[in-house]
Amino acid sequence: MTNHTPTAHPKPVSLNSRIGISLALLLALVTASFMVGKFDVSLHDLITVLWARMRGASHDLPPVIDTVIFQIRMPRVVAALVVGAALAAGGATFQSLFRNPLASPDILGVSAGAGLGATLGITLALPVGGIQMMAFVFGLATVFAVYLIGRAVRGHDPILVLVLAGVVMGALAGAGIALLKYLADPYDELPTITFWLLGSLNAVSREEMLVALLFVAVGTIPLVLLRWRMNIMSLGDEEARALGLHTGLMQLLFISAATLITAAAVSISGIIGWVGLMIPHIARLLVGPDFSRLLPMSMLLGAAYLLCIDDIARTFAEVEIPLGILTALVGAPFFLWLLTRSKRGWQ
């Protein structure tokens, strides 16, 4: 035996203060997000308007500030928070369940399916709500198909079959998207499709946001309830069964919940990669692998991260930068750094 026993969290900052710092960071980011943009809002104006709204009273600032805060920035800030938290929750779930550091919320093809649905919706000239509905339904249907393939193929590692089926269905959906893009009107539909596939939050209305929020909340409930069981699932199928878990049922519940959350997010934001891959790693560094801490920390960091990225997307240049491009620019080098920094991909 060794005398030196490394402890779980050797850093001097306690667990509670790490959570506290993250929360404070999120709050500061939310405040800043209401202030920055094409129309600058000062902190004083922001507080005045919010205070007046809370008391139901009026204020003597120009009404345009009300519009900017409540009509333009609030749905977008909330959407960034919800989508970021959802993608990170999906990523944390699939990484724990599949015991794979490269698992992301779209590993079972939800993004590819949603992309195909949205592309089809745009080609059929559906309204924005219809496009989102198509994305949501196609995303869920793709994962359902992947799950059925996984059930049908016997005699192999079930997780491996699922992941491979996800790759295959993703490729199939990708071919469908490519075909629709090839056939699309290059002056009208094609730019819309391209823009959707790169991810953006600028077209999200308050109603659509609320629907997505509802689905994300519904999907989060089983993850929270089964948080401790997830730790046991992350030991692998055989050990989890030997410890008394009905793993087939657990797997179905976790996959359904994570897919619902991811599909709801993707349907309003388009495809935003890297958040669900990268954020759970940072959360694991901060609070360890226990899912009852990993899940809330991932959601908190995911929300903060996407909000920050969205602020950059809408303020950095004259035109909006697609979110998927920014998250890839930040995510790819970060992930490489993370891999080289530790001997184990996990720590």
Binding site: T2, P6, R227, L235, A242, L243, G244, L245, P289, R344
Partner: protein
């Protein structure tokens, strides 16, 4: 509590390993399986735990067929210390041991103070309480094996199945693990284990089962079953079984392979 294997056929869907195996495990004994690699020890254990489906015959506990038991009920009676443990996540030793409580905890619940207390006692009884906050992926192979045994203890089952608990451990760690097996047996737990070393059977087993090509080649007390002829039959090598007096004053046996 008595576990019995009746006319059991076991193996994988496309590969039968053994057939018509009969065996009764006596309460409180340490039954050690010996046999060459690929003889079916792990497959048999997995079938006993119902991780693999029995292909014929059945497994009973106190006469009751377990093939229809819910997972949780099996895990309340039978715990498993797996052979290789791939550690993926940096859980702490305490967190790993607590997972042994899952068969006793409600579906949506997390471990309570009582579960922590049981996990702490499991660590204490194996004298590894100092590892409680250590990260499972950072400790030595022997410490990991002891952690998994502690997890089985926290599961509070009457039967424990250990698949080669001393495999891939250095000499000192092998002794630590064998001591742990001994301590568990003295506390009244029935242990079904396998080993690659017949000497380990001499040291801790009350009975030895020799498994070859999925069949029982012999079963009985180690002193009676382990001898030159049976080891030649089992492993196909020449081994002398030496008898000597220990410092404590009783007779012990040791296997010495004939090299050259």
């Amino acid at each position: 509590m008595t576990l019995a294997v009746n006319h059991l056929a076991f193996g994988y869907p496309d590969h039968r390993v053994g057939a018509d195996l009969n065996l009764t495990i006596n309460p409180g004994e340490v039954l050690c399986f010996l046999g060459p690699n690929g003889c079916g020890k792990t497959t048999l254990f997995k079938t006993m735990l119902r991780l693999l489906k029995a292909q014929g015959g059945n497994i009973t506990i106190d006469g009751e067929d377990i093939s229809q038991w819910p997972r949780q009920r099996i895990a309340q009676v039978l715990s498993y210390v797996p052979q290789q443990h791939d550690a993926y996540f940096p859980f702490t030793v305490m967190e790993v041991v607590l997972m042994g409580r899952s068969a006793h905890i409600g579906l949506f619940a997390s471990p309570s103070h009582r579960d922590y207390e049981i996990a702490r006692q499991a660590l204490n009884s194996l004298k590894i309480e100092h590892l409680s906050d250590a990260v499972y992926t950072h400790i030595s192979g022997g410490e990991r094996q002891l952690t998994l045994i502690a997890r089985a203890l926290a599961q509070q089952t009457i039967l424990v199945i250990m698949d080669e608990p001393t495999a891939n451990l250095d000499f000192g760690n092998q002794v630590l693990v064998l001591n742990a097996v001994q301590r568990l047996a003295r506390s009244g737990i029935t242990i079904i284990m396998s080993s690659h070393d017949p000497d380990h059977a001499f040291q801790v087993a009350s009975r030895v089962a020799m498994l070859k090509d999925g069949r029982l080649a012999g079963i009985g007390a180690p002193q009676e079953v382990i001898n030159q002829a049976s080891l030649r039959e089992l492993y196909g090598v020449e081994v002398s079984v030496m008898e000597f007096d220990t410092a404590a004053g009783h007779t012990a046996k040791l296997c010495v392979p004939m090299i050259g």
